[in-house]
């Protein structure tokens, strides 16, 4: 299991150079059945990461580029009258895939955004009064441009909350970039990636996440972290119970990726910025800064 996971991480690492941490986070997010939001500038490898993940995990992959004039039907699918059979037939939209890359999600209108977000939460879509199950597993990796860029509709908090993690890739290191210059085109490499596991193995891995042990001491630490976000005057909005649960799940997946049967405080700390960053709101500054202060202030051992 451990070997398999390192192999998956290494495979993606070949395409996305020097981003091991982010790759692991993305993997942890998928293992804990969460959706991932990648926020970064264009051209940083968001799409590459999503594509590589789908490739390595052997998932069916579709990509939707969101635009401001998109309608929900463009994602969910439409019923079209077919002359041959004289009936309406439902044409599935891109949402009917195992891994959906929703590129630049914040460029579309809120109506379209919410159609996707509903599908994410319920793992089913209702079209023409008929409820259709989405494939299993179902992941959404959404990317969004930083909010100050023009032509964006920011996602409301309630919809941000649907994403288990929000990560950003950032610029590559000098060595990574040099390797990128020297090496072959990552896109070509992407095509060569072979699936390491199938859907059954992925599901088994997901079930293993739930078995990672969380001790009393660790739950105490989690409790203190959550309580601090709710009580600290710095945080306008504290972490919801869903947020706290998301933190625990993601940390479990993180521990599994690192081959541990039990959680360590480091696991919580590793996923905390990605899980809590988009859920917390500070009086001033970004959620990420808040999370960093939170990690510094809350004692791991005792209150």
């Amino acid at each position: 299991m451990q070997k398999l996971i390192s192999a998956i991480v290494a495979d993606i690492g070949k395409v996305l150079l020097g981003k091991e941490h982010q790759v692991k986070l993305a993997l942890a997010c998928l293992l804990s059945r969460g959706h991932l939001l990648i926020e970064d500038l264009p051209g940083m490898g968001k799409t590459t990461l999503a594509h590589a993940l789908a490739q390595v995990l052997g998932l069916s992959y579709k990509r939707v580029q969101f635009t401001s004039d998109m309608l929900p039907a463009d994602i969910l699918g439409v019923s079209i009258f077919e002359r041959d059979s004289g009936q309406f037939r439902f044409h599935e939209g891109p949402v009917f895939s195992q891994l959906l890359l929703a590129d630049e999600i914040n460029r579309s209108s809120p109506k379209t955004q919410s159609a996707l977000l509903e599908a994410m939460e319920e793992r089913q879509v209702s079209v023409d009064g008929e409820t259709r199950q989405l494939p299993e597993p179902f992941f959404v990796i959404a990317t969004q441009n930083p909010l100050h860029q023009s032509g964006t509709f920011s996602l409301p908090e309630s919809q941000l909350d649907r994403f288990l993690m929000r990560i950003s890739l950032g610029y590559p290191t000098r060595e990574a970039e040099r390797a990128l210059f020297l090496g072959v085109d990552p896109r070509a490499q992407l095509q060569q990636l072979k699936p390491r596991i199938d859907v059954a193995a992925l599901k088994k891995m997901q079930s293993l996440v739930g078995q990672v042990k969380a001790s009393e001491s660790l739950l105490d630490y989690l409790e203190r972290l959550v309580l601090h976000t709710r009580q600290s005057p710095e945080c306008a909005v504290g972490l919801s119970p869903r947020g706290a649960l998301a933190l625990l799940h993601a940390a479990r997946a993180w521990a599994l990726i690192h081959g541990r049967g039990h959680l360590l405080p480091e696991d919580l700390q590793a996923v905390l910025p990605s899980v809590a960053g988009h859920r917390l709101q500070g009086e001033s500054g970004d959620g990420i800064q808040l999370v960093e202060r939170l990690m510094r202030q809350v004692d791991i051992i005792a209150a």
Partner: protein, 678 residues
């Protein structure tokens, strides 16, 4: 008109009325009825104001109401400076305050007054039921105060709960104040009610008339002995001596009562004490009788303030016993005393006094004794023998005519103690032996393993005393000659058939009820002993027992120490409850490790995970690193892997290691022995 926001809301008003009702309820029985109506009227008006149908009364109406109530009080009582009109005045002003109940300030005023009104209850009664009721009053009034804070706090459960909690917290303070607060005498004395009928023994007896023998089982005396206890046949509690007989009625005679110039020694110390020590020491608690007579066995001396001894061996109080009164008595039985003086002339004549005429048969019979030359004791024995031969003891004797003694002795021959004592004394006097009737109580019932003797009203008794030259006054009980069981077992047994024959239910026959009654009396007795009679003397005694010596310093310590202890207790409680749950053992061990590391100069930051800390130690203090890594690995396994073996290992590691003695340990244990976790 007050500011709209200050107006009292509905639940405030209702609570105030409830508190007023609770405070006034016991007064309703004592006060004139129109005061109850005044209260109802004031409440009604105030409720109408609340509904907006009426305005608060104006100045003219208020003046009118005040004039009416003052007039009403004057009409009801006629005199001002007595207790009841004062209480009534307080109650009326308290009820009329409802007509001015506008703002929250008025509400507080009314409720604080309610405490005072509730306290006036204890002017009349201090028994346990009243004390309980007083407590309930205080709870309700405090709840009403708590309810003034707003809608949320006015809910009954919440207000009463808060009230109970507040009062429970005040209990220690109450006890402390009860013990140490100086008992000041009343600043002014309000005359108490004197019109109450006297019960039990009265200042005269008329055996011939309608029988007035009390069958009431109300307690009169409670007597607790300190040391030896007199035998049942010695338990004669003397209260009055009747020396004067007018042919029908026995009375004290002129000049016996101190108000008529009777000689009373008010302080036992002035009296020449008998050489032999007192046989009996006891404490009597007497219910109110509205008479000054106290009850004791013959030859009593009392050290209680305001109690004096008379020359006919009784004790009396300076003023009437209006409320329960306790006094200490020492008694010397007459046979132990040797200082018998001769009967002086006046006393001699007084105790031989007989009306000029009447009862010729008795006189003739007595003349026979006189003529036969028998001495006093022999005459007495003859008379008693006569009684014993042909008389019956009954509670319902026939009424007697003009020559009551003749009719009784030679006619009806039925009667109770008064008849026997009266006719005996008459006969003795006629035979020339100085004699007198003594009234009081006889016997008593033990309560709770002889803790105290309970004497009830039906234990009232009359007997005789005759003068025997050289031996002084001797008690003779003619009733004992007729019905010895009356003396031995008490009235209830001696005349069981007649006793309470007219009561609806023969409750006295149910043993358990009698026992319960005695138990209840015992509870009351203890209550009185411990609480009501806790006066300044008892206080001094208690403080002396507690402190050894009453000095300001010790008293201050006595108050300060419990207060300090209580405060420390609260502090500890706050500290422990604020500390939250105890950490798991592994975390505590790791904390210990962190403290040691901090002393060694490298402190873990709050948010620093153990492994990050170990990494930092490797960089900053490489010498400590191997051991720190071992400890970190053990801690992670113990705290997060929940591995008990790792916890033991962590404990062992910490016991043997400190940052200062690092190398020693590594040599002795060796790093290889310890698994590194991952």
């Amino acid at each position: 008109m007050a500011n709209q926001s200050e107006l009292l809301p509905r639940e405030s008003l209702l609570w105030i009325f409830a508190a007023q009702f609770a405070a006034l309820l016991p007064q309703f029985a004592l006060l004139p009825l129109w005061i109850v109506c005044a209260w109802a009227f004031a409440v009604y008006w105030r409720l109408e104001v609340f509904r907006g149908r009426r305005d608060l009364p104006g100045r003219a109406v208020k003046l009118l109401v005040v004039a009416l109530t003052v007039g009403g009080l004057a009409l009801s009582y006629g005199r001002w400076f007595a207790l009841e009109p004062m209480v009534a005045l307080l109650a009326v002003s308290f009820t009329l305050k409802n007509l001015e109940l506008v703002s929250r300030r008025d509400a507080f005023l009314s409720l604080l007054l309610a405490y005072f009104v509730a306290a006036t209850l204890f002017v009349y009664e201090q028994t346990i039921p009243y004390a309980l009721y007083g407590t309930i009053c205080v709870v309700v009034i405090t709840a009403a105060l708590a309810a003034q804070l707003g809608h949320f706090s006015a809910r009954p459960r919440r207000a009463l709960g808060l009230s109970l909690r507040l009062l429970a917290q005040a209990v220690p303070l109450m006890l402390l104040l009860f013990i140490v607060m100086p008992r000041l005498g009343p600043l002014w004395a309000v005359p108490q009610n004197k019109s109450g009928a006297s019960t039990g023994v009265s200042d005269s007896m008329t055996p011939g008339d309608f029988t007035r023998l009390s069958k009431s089982d109300k307690p009169v005396l409670r007597i607790a002995f300190d040391g030896p206890v007199p035998a049942p046949e010695q338990r004669y509690w003397r209260g009055l001596v009747y020396s004067d007989f007018d042919g029908r009625r026995w009375s004290q005679g002129f000049g016996v009562d101190p108000r008529e110039g009777g000689v009373v020694r008010w302080s036992g110390r002035e009296q020449s004490l008998p050489e032999v020590g007192p046989r009996y020491r006891y404490r009597v608690i007497q219910e109110s009788t509205n008479n000054p007579w106290l009850f004791a066995m013959a030859r009593p001396i009392s050290d209680t303030r305001g109690v004096g001894e008379t020359s006919d061996d009784r004790i009396i109080k300076r003023g009437p016993v209006y409320s329960r009164f306790a006094y200490e008595v020492r008694s010397w039985p007459r046979e132990t005393l040797t200082d018998v003086r001769e009967l002086d002339d006046f006393q001699h004549r007084r105790n031989l006094q007989l009306p000029r005429g009447g009862n010729p048969r008795t006189r003739a019979w007595a003349d026979e004794f006189r003529a036969s030359g028998l001495d006093a004791e022999e005459i007495s024995a003859r008379v008693l023998k006569f009684f014993n031969r042909s008389f019956t003891y009954t509670l319902k004797p026939p009424a007697l005519g003009v020559d009551s003694i003749d009719e009784f002795l030679f006619g009806s021959q039925q009667g109770f103690c008064e008849h026997f004592a009266g006719s005996y004394v008459f006969t003795m006097r006629a035979a020339g032996v100085p004699a007198r009737v003594v009234a009081g109580y006889q016997g008593g019932e033990w309560v709770d393993q002889e803790e105290y003797l309970l004497v009830r009203e039906y234990d009232a008794h009359a007997w005789a005393e005759i003068w025997i030259a050289g031996r002084g006054w001797q008690r003779v009980d003619p009733t004992a000659a007729v019905s010895p069981e009356r003396i031995r077992d008490g009235l209830q047994n001696a005349a069981a058939e007649e006793f309470m024959a007219d009561s609806l239910l023969p409750l006295h026959r149910i043993g358990i009820l009698n026992r319960l009654r005695l138990e209840w009396d015992m509870v009351n007795y203890r209550w009185y002993q411990a609480v009501v009679s806790f006066d300044s003397d008892k206080q001094q005694n208690l403080l002396k027992k507690l402190l050894g010596e009453v000095s300001p310093l010790r008293l201050a310590a006595f108050i300060a120490v419990p207060v300090a202890l209580a405060l420390i207790g609260i502090l500890l409680w706050l500290w422990f409850s604020g500390r939250g749950r105890r950490l798991p053992p592994a975390s505590r061990l790791y904390q210990k490790f962190c403290r040691r590391m901090a002393r060694a100069g490298i402190a873990r930051r709050p948010g620093e995970a153990p492994r990050d800390f170990a990494r930092r130690v490797r960089v900053e203090k490489p010498a400590l690193a191997p051991m720190v890594e071992l400890i970190t690995a053990a801690f992670e396994k113990a705290a997060y892997g929940e591995d008990p073996a790792a916890q033991k290992q962590l404990r062992r590691l910490l016991r043997q290691w400190s940052p200062g003695a690092n190398f020693m340990f590594l040599k002795t244990v060796g790093a290889g022995r310890i698994a590194t976790g991952e």
